[in-house]
């Protein structure tokens, strides 16, 4: 059964159709890739799923529930979290505080705990910090706990962002170009991390430009061009699909 289903989703900006009647279906436990040339509408799809944009047409169904048009925080609380193409951390705050932000919904503190601290507060606070410690350990960030997130190198910042997203204990993790700006060594580490997250039972949806990485780890791929799905299938089928090659490299006779 599909965990997430997009049914004819269409998003229009002014006169531009950024996403055109897109239908995809993602099964639980898989690593699903969306690829396509620049400006194909990939990030717009992510923004529609996470409630940043509201699609003009179509339905987004998560766990048999129609979540189209829900606000972002509600969608996150239902179990979909994401990372961003341009890393968005809370730069001035420490690494640990950044990951703690992912515990926001799981922490059961009420509004009055911001005024009065009850015994429940101390218990809840400790439980969540211990979780943060776990996630820092998982990503090898423990020694950086007190450091400012914004002053960390790019590769570390990507890890912090993934740790933060994972700290929400999502069912679907959406990664927007996780390998952008990483060097070879960091990219290998990333493949390892993504597979470990999948083994934890989290379904992963990712956009990526790096073909090696996509072909390596994804189990199923959809290819977008000009907002439309032009192909879908297993990585090896996509690699040899003439329509995909054309979208990326252009037609052979284009210059003539």
């Amino acid at each position: 059964m599909a965990l997430l289903e997009l049914d004819n989703v269409t998003k229009i900006f002014g006169g531009l159709v950024a996403v055109d009647s897109l239908s995809i279906s993602i099964d639980k436990g898989m690593i699903y890739g969306i690829i396509g040339p620049n400006g194909a509408g990939k990030t717009t799809v992510f923004n529609c799923i996470t409630g940043v944009y509201k699609p003009e047409k179509g339905k987004i169904i998560f766990k048999d529930k129609d979540i189209t048009g829900f606000s972002s925080h509600k969608i996150a609380n239902m179990g979909i979290t994401r990372t961003f193409q341009t890393i968005r951390l809370f730069n001035e705050m420490s690494v640990a505080e950044n990951i703690m932000s992912g515990r926001h919904f799981k922490s059961k503190q009420k509004w009055w705990h911001g005024v009065i601290h009850t015994p429940f507060y101390y218990k809840d606070e400790r439980e969540n910090w211990v979780k943060v410690k776990e996630y820092m350990g998982l990503f090898g960030l423990t020694h950086l706990a007190k450091m400012t997130a914004g002053s960390q190198p790019y590769g570390i910042q990507r890890k912090i962002e993934m740790a933060r997203a994972l700290a929400t204990e999502p069912e679907l993790l959406i990664l927007d170009e996780p390998a952008a700006g990483l060097n070879d060594k960091e990219r290998l580490e990333l493949v390892d991390t993504i597979e470990r997250i999948r083994d934890m039972g989290v379904t992963i949806l990712l956009i990526e430009h790096n073909m090696d990485l996509v072909m390596n780890i994804t189990e199923y791929i959809s290819v977008l061009n000009f907002g439309k799905k032009i192909a879908e299938g297993k990585p090896e089928d996509i690699q040899n699909n003439p329509v995909v090659i054309e979208a990326y490299l252009g037609k052979e006779d284009e210059d003539e």
Partner: protein, 315 residues
């Protein structure tokens, strides 16, 4: 998660506030009382401006609502002062939520202009004696002192300690806020509202929460203000006062408790110290403010993040 050094600093600060009045004449006790009251208002302004990052330049409204609630309920309706306190807290909360709800999504500069508008409307309403209870441009005089079990807190000294108590309460509240889920949520949504939404923070709710909490504290400070002067007038809550609170937070250091206290000290106590220089002191003052913003853009005493429990880094 206060470390021993911080406990020591706050201990020294609070202890010196307790013994201070014994070394001062009554004029200075009055100056220090004003300092304590305005500290509470500035710290409450900091919740909205420093922590949640919303440009609220109408904070005097909530301070004024608290002050006027006590004055009106006492003078017009004959309530004892103690009974007016809940109203002076709840009314600003309601007002802040009603004012902020429709404008909370606005970007910083638009929010700023809107709150200025609200502040101007507020002072105009007070001046024009709405419902015939605000006393018009002159305000309300002769508010009774606070009575607790037949003790009448009318001396300057007793009001000083009342103001001290309110500041202590505010400091505890803000410390609790800082180390809790709602307090952290304010920082998150301030630094990156989209990222906050996408990890499940209801940014709209927490923005309103910041307004409500800060209005409650400002309203409470308003009660003590009324008792200090046994009077209220529109001038004490106009737009210029809001600008002052706004400036204190930025000059002192947004989200930094010692910073905001220092800022209040510089704005309200230091000018009194240089009274003999008459108007010239304001010139020095303006220049000092400019220089601080150039050299220390994050305030005199900038906030430090990374206050995390020690068991996080230990094996």
């Amino acid at each position: 998660m206060m470390n021993t050094k911080n406990v020591l600093y706050y201990g020294i600060f609070l202890a010196s506030l307790i013994i201070l009045p014994f070394f001062l004449n009554s004029d200075w006790v009055s100056v220090m009382t004003t300092f304590l009251i305005y500290s509470v208002v500035s710290l409450s302004q900091d919740i909205v401006l420093g922590r949640a990052g919303m440009f609220d330049m109408g904070h005097a409204i909530f301070f004024g609502l608290g002050a006027y609630s006590t004055a009106i309920l006492n003078m017009v309706y004959g309530w004892p002062i103690l009974a007016t306190v809940p109203v002076a807290i709840i009314l600003p909360i309601i007002a802040s939520v009603l004012l902020a709800a429709p404008i909370i999504h606005l970007r910083g500069d638009y929010l700023l202009v809107t709150t200025i508008g609200f502040n101007i409307v507020f002072t105009q309403a007070l001046k024009n004696n709405v419902f015939g209870i605000t006393g018009g441009p002159n305000g309300i005089f002769g508010v009774e002192p606070l009575k607790i079990f037949n003790f009448s807190l009318s001396s300057q000294m007793s009001i000083y300690y009342l103001a001290f108590f309110i500041l202590l309460l505010t400091l505890i509240t803000i410390h609790n806020l800082e180390t809790s889920k709602p307090g952290r949520a304010l920082h998150y949504l301030n630094l990156d509202s989209l990222a906050s939404e996408c990890i499940g923070i209801n940014t709209r709710f927490y923005r309103l929460y910041a307004f409500a909490l800060s209005a409650a504290l400002a309203g409470l400070a308003g009660v003590v203000f009324t008792l200090q002067f046994s009077a209220v007038s529109p001038g004490a809550f106009n737009f210029i006062q809001s600008v002052l609170f706004f400036t204190i937070v930025l000059v002192g250091g947004p989200s930094s408790i010692p910073g905001v206290l220092l800022g209040t000290f510089f704005m309200f106590v230091v000018p009194e110290m240089f009274r003999q220089f008459a108007e010239a002191r304001y010139l020095v003052f303006g220049v000092a403010m400019i220089l601080i913003m150039i050299w220390r853009p994050k305030g005199i005493w900038p906030v430090k993040f990374g206050k995390i429990p020690s068991y996080l880094t230990k094996e």
